[in-house]
Amino acid sequence: MAKKHDDNPENYPALGRWLMFLDDPKVIKRIVHGIYVICAVLFAMDFFYYKKTYVEIENYTGFYMIYGFIMCAALVICAKVMRVFLMRAETYYSPKDTESEMHPDHDLRKESVND
């Protein structure tokens, strides 16, 4: 597991260090707000261009966005309900299942930047 105590950002690759601003809660908040703004703008776009459609339903303003939002929210909620019925322990089928066993080391090169 994590060796937090000697976790030194100096060891990270430069790109990774630069990306560390993503850890900042303020930045995350900004990204979330950014997504809201982009959605609003895209929704508004529907008023400004000629939409070439084949299916009746496409003509409703913002159909695609609303459809995408509602269906995906429904998808997640359905899946969450499915978990109640379908979720089992990792050893459900067998204690020696690929699910519950470790991936063998001969197939890996586990290396950490802090080593």
Binding site: K3, F69, C72, M82, M87, R88, T98, N114
Partner: protein, 575 residues
């Protein structure tokens, strides 16, 4: 005889040579050269050529070169090259030989013009690929491999049985378009059953709903490099076979629609990211199957193009998750998170793959999936069109966001793995570049498609509606995550249809065998007792000292000896 050299032969020869090259850079280079040579051969084989070999009383068509076959063969070669580059570090002879034979069989299969040769390569892909799972060398992988093998070989066995029926009824073994009989099964003769069996065998490899579990079972179980190889060939070979044999079969539209639909639910709650990818692979196959079912030129072009793009971005996603697994030892969402800091390049490549599979404008999925979706609306399958839209949004949800988010962002797992090794970065980088290239300049890909393409992708409507759809999906993810409704990644397995053959059937069989053996034991016990009693009584009355022994003529002796022999046999047999 053969005037052109079938490209699969190159792979088989290479597979024979590989064990004699010392493992190391030389061998890895050799593994890279082979797909290049193969692709060069395919590129230079003019369409329209065919090679027929007389064999076992049949004329086997080893080469039938047309555009449909060529595009699959080319992308298979490309996938083999990229997978071998990704596996540059590999020193396992068995996996290398298996990968070559597997790619060779798949390339061989797309060029064949008859069903018997198809069967050869069909089984070839089954046998070669299992070694990539077994190579993990754990007990779990061994049993997964056995299940995979039985299902894959089963598909081949169903194929050859179907071919036998087809051949016995029509006298032909040609692999041409077939008509799936939709009349009542009671009226079916051997031909109808044969065609259905061929269809079923394609369906197993194509992971049709309820026949799909081998896919989600096997791909997360294979080795890091093995999964990348596996993801390219088997299912796309099945897509090719369906496109060749059953284009325009309406039932495929509905099968495909269900295929795009149900895996996304599982993908949302699945923890193992490689299995999430396997579910999303299943969903992407659904798009191709719908395209085959619609069967118009536009739809078939869409299927071929989507298969091409899909192989690349799916390989890219498996490579990036594989790289994470390679460095951390796990691919489970519940164990990962925060890896972007130390694996930023892998993260970026993963995002390119995610954007491609989600069909963002400028990425490969955008220019290929739209052909199929448009074909559905043009042919007035509106409900199917709605389902495909939903599935597209759902793909973005679980593959496009979930995979990068849980692997590289989400909560910090504290893992600080090193960036993936250079050769893996190169493999991912080239694949990512290809994904973008196809997305930005689709024309060269469209050139390769089986029919002429008259389709404009980058229209205002298309770009904006697609972005709206995807951002709607992203919005749902954001809102649900912010309000903590989104289901967390949990260490678990989710029951799928494989429960029937991993749990229910074995239990049922155990119960039946218990009943049968108990009954059998009772019956044989009674017979034994009866026989012993009979011998004893006969001996008493007819034996040498018995009361009746004196009065028998010698002719009857012979008969009784024969009878006794028979009885003795009976007793020996049951004792």
């Amino acid at each position: 005889m053969i005037d052109i050299f079938p490209p699969f032969v190159i792979y088989i020869i290479a597979a024979l040579i590989v064990p004699f090259i010392p493992a190391g850079r030389l061998r890895s280079t050799f593994m890279l050269v082979i797909p290049v040579v193969g692709a060069w051969m395919i590129w230079n084989t003019p369409t329209g050529l065919s090679a027929v070999v007389p064999f076992f009383g049949f004329d086997l068509t080893l080469m039938r070169v047309d555009k449909l076959a060529t595009i699959f063969a080319l992308v298979f070669s490309l996938a083999a090259f990229l997978a071998n580059l990704y596996a540059w570090h590999l020193r396992d002879t068995m996996q290398q030989v298996a990968a070559l034979l597997y790619a060779g069989s798949a390339i061989g299969a797309v060029f064949v013009g008859d069903l018997i040769s198809l069967f050869f390569f069909w089984e070839g892909t089954a046998i070669a690929s299992v070694f990539l799972i077994w190579a993990r060398r754990t007990e779990g992988a061994f049993w997964t491999g056995m299940r995979y093998l039985i299902i894959q070989i089963g598909s081949g066995v169903i194929l050859i049985a179907g071919v036998a029926m087809y051949y016995a009824s029509t006298g032909s073994i040609g692999f041409e378009a077939m008509t799936l009989p939709m009349t009542s099964p009671i009226t079916w003769g051997a031909l109808e059953i044969g065609i259905w069996m061929i269809f079923l065998s394609f369906g197993i490899k194509c992971a049709f709903p309820l026949l799909h579990n081998w896919l989600q079972d096997a791909y997360p179980a294979a080795t890091v490099t093995g999964t990348v190889v596996l993801s390219a060939f088997t299912t796309k070979l099945a897509v090719y076979a369906l496109a060749r044999g059953f284009a325009g079969t309406e039932i495929l539209i509905y099968i495909g629609a269900i295929m795009t639909l149900f895996p996304i639910f599982y993908a949302v709650i699945e923890n193992d990211l490689r299995r999430v990818l396997a579910y999303s692979l299943n969903n992407q196959l659904g798009f191709m199957v719908v395209g085959i079912g619609i069967g118009t030129e536009l739809a078939l072009n869409g299927t071929a193009a989507h298969a091409f793009a899909h192989i690349l971005y799916k390989a890219l996603l498996f490579m990036s998750v594989g790289a994470v697994l390679f460095r951390t030892g796990t691919a489970k969402g519940s164990e990962l998170g925060g890896l972007y800091k130390t694996m930023p390049l892998t993260m970026i490549f993963c995002c390119v793959g995610a954007a491609s599979i989600s069909a963002f404008p400028l990425f490969s999925g955008f220019v290929t999936k739209s052909l199929i979706v448009s074909a559905a609306s043009k042919e007035h399958y509106y409900i199917i069109w709605g389902i495909l839209l939903f599935a597209s949004a759902g793909v973005f949800h679980h593959s496009g966001i979930k995979i990068p988010y849980f692997a590289f962002f989400a909560h910090d797992s504290g893992k600080r793995p090193k960036e993936a090794p250079t050769h893996m970065l190169w493999a991912m980088g080239i694949t990512a570049a290809l994904c973008i290239l196809v997305g930005v300049f689709p024309a060269p890909l469209y050139e390769l498609l089986p029919y002429e393409v008259n389709y404009e992708n980058y229209t205002t409507t298309h770009v904006i509606t697609q972005l709206q759809l995807l951002m709607g999906s992203a919005l749902a993810f954001t809102v649900l995550t912010v309000y903590k409704i989104y289901p967390p990644e949990l260490k678990s397995v989710n029951l799928d249809f494989d429960w029937t053959y991993r749990r229910f059937l074995p239990a049922a069989l155990r119960y039946i065998s218990f009943l049968v053996s108990a009954t059998f034991g009772m019956v044989t016990g009674a017979i034994n007792a009866f026989a012993a009693n009979m011998v004893h009584r006969l001996h008493h009355s007819h034996g040498p000292d018995g009361s009746r022994a004196a009065s028998w003529p010698s002719g009857a002796m012979v008969l009784s000896i024969a009878a006794l022999l028979g009885l003795a046999l009976f007793v020996i047999f049951f004792s």
